[in-house]
């Protein structure tokens, strides 16, 4: 699985891990990862530790997640970003929408 999910014990946080290329090919899996969660978590961590590449459709997917999680009221962290991935997120100024570390 290129997209793995883990719900915290208290059901409040959903961690979504992307492995390999984070591009259009992951679209359905990524959507399923949060739409099929039985409870509605308060916050989301998108873990990009093992993501090797990120393209503009990945940015679109992050926007979809943000919309799903409540838009401006959402609480999403994008974590473990490597320098290449961070550069892409920085050019698009996505740190204005997501907590990126």
């Amino acid at each position: 699985m290129a997209v793995e999910t883990e719900l915290s014990q208290d059901g409040k946080k959903l961690t979504i891990r992307i492995k390999g290329r984070f591009d259009f090919g992951r679209h359905q899996e990524f959507r399923d990862s949060y739409e099929r969660t039985p409870v509605r978590p308060d916050s989301f961590d998108v873990d990009l530790k093992d993501a090797t590449y990120l393209d503009s459709s990945a940015l679109g997917m992050l926007l979809l997640l943000r919309d799903h999680a409540g838009g401006d009221n959402s609480n999403i962290r994008v974590i473990n970003t490597n320098s290449d991935v961070r550069k892409i997120l920085a050019i698009s100024n996505f740190e204005k929408l997501f907590d990126i570390t």
């Binding site: 259009f24 503009s56 459709s57 940015l59 679109g60 997917m61 926007l63 979809l64 919309d67 050019i91 698009s92 100024n93 996505f94 204005k96 929408l97």
Partner: protein, 387 residues
């Protein structure tokens, strides 16, 4: 035959007894049979009747099975006509020769009706698989041609809306693939009523029709508002609001906009999500990057949109250089990207500013052979008066 197709099978065998035996077996299995007593007759019969499967004796007078197989395969073209060699040859290299001549299988004497039936069935499966592949290939080619044609029509409609604006101005040079629109790249330029020049280089998420569809309203707003004399800020607000309204959540447009005032010698810059553009001073001083400070167009709701621009002074002969990420992401054979460093090196090694654009193109060509379809480049020179 209950579970298979009725085939026309050509049997070429010089021995009368064997020929009769085989014909009887194959006919009993429900197939139509044609017979020939040498390779030459077999080839002639094949050309005339186009049987679907051939049983071919390797050793025959007039023309042997090897030559007949070659000629039958050549006549069959793309269609797979399975050839099963009939042989009493047992040496490995004779069997190898059968396959090398175009045979698909062989059957050794004495003939077993069960084995022959199984082989015919297996070969028929292969034959039909090949026919399906060819048919699907032709369908794909047909669809591909339809798609290209649709793109041509869509591009013609788009060109009516986006028209060339002032991209033909003598102080502008650009490179854009004719298919750029369908890769999401968008290049627009137009004069305001007071002679300022508005320029937009954009890059929609995704590609194909969705990207092209978003480009149309954006171009309409750009040209409409520029012609009416609206400034960059108002135009940006309108473009963002429109894209936010019409695009799905996961679609947006990275864009770099310029308002060049040749009169006042300043340029206003707004960059949302595009790679750095550059202001290259005529003095030869180091390039000033035009950095992305904003989210792309179509992401933020109107009340949170930030249309603030950077204002930079211009001097005569300064150049503005804009590019899409297809330029720096152009990869060579080993998947190494061209990258920003190489681009900056071309800038710093350039001695004759009027050749800069060509220098960049040459560097890209040397790197990869040619620019990608989604690599758009634009250079504007600051002149005394434009338009």
């Amino acid at each position: 035959m209950s579970d298979g197709h009725t085939l026309t099978v050509l049997i070429a065998e010089d021995g009368g007894t064997d020929r009769l035996l085989l014909a009887t077996i194959v006919r009993k299995q429900g197939h139509r049979v044609l017979t020939a007593e040498n390779g030459k007759l077999a080839v002639a019969l094949f050309a005339e009747q186009r049987p679907q499967l051939v049983l071919l004796d390797a050793v025959m007078p007039v023309m042997d099975g090897f030559e007949a197989a070659r000629q039958i395969k050549a006549l069959a073209g793309e269609e797979l006509v399975p050839i099963i060699f009939l042989t009493s040859l047992t040496e490995d290299d004779a069997l190898v020769r059968c396959l090398e001549a175009g045979g698909d299988d062989f059957l050794a004497k004495p003939y077993s009706p069960a084995v022959l039936a199984a082989k015919i069935k297996a070969m028929d499966r292969l034959r039909r698989l090949q026919a399906t592949v060819v048919e699907q290939r032709d369908q794909i080619a047909l669809h591909h041609n339809h798609l290209l044609n649709e793109q041509r029509v869509a591009k013609a409609v788009f060109d009516q809306i986006a028209h060339a604006g002032c991209l033909g101005a003598p102080n502008i040079r650009y490179l854009q693939s004719p298919y750029a629109l369908f890769n999401g790249d968008l290049l627009l330029a137009a004069f305001t009523p007071t002679g300022d020049m508005h320029v937009l280089l954009g890059d929609f998420t995704g590609h194909g029709l969705p990207a092209a569809v978003g480009a149309m309203p954006l171009a309409e707003v750009f040209h409409g508002m520029t012609a009416k004399g609206y400034g960059l800020a108002e135009t940006l607000r309108e473009m963002n609001a429109k894209l936010k309204r019409i695009l799905p959540v996961d679609m947006f447009c990275c864009a770099l906009l310029l308002n060049l005032s040749f009169e006042r010698r300043v340029v206003e810059v707004w960059n949302g999500g595009m790679p750095d553009g550059y202001l290259l001073p005529a003095s030869g001083d180091q390039a000033t990057p035009l950095v992305s400070r904003h989210l792309p167009l179509g992401v933020l709701p109107p009340e949170r949109f930030d249309e603030r621009t950077d204002v930079l002074p211009l001097a005569l002969g300064d150049r503005l250089f804009l590019l899409t990420d297809g330029v720096v992401e152009t990869c060579d054979e080993s998947d190494e990207p061209f990258g920003v460093e190489r681009l900056l090196r071309v800038f710093s090694e350039n001695r004759r500013p009027e050749h800069l654009f060509d220098d960049v193109l040459l560097a890209l060509e040397a790197f990869r052979g040619r620019a990608r379809d989604d690599a758009s480049l634009l250079e504007i020179t600051v002149v005394a008066r434009s338009g």
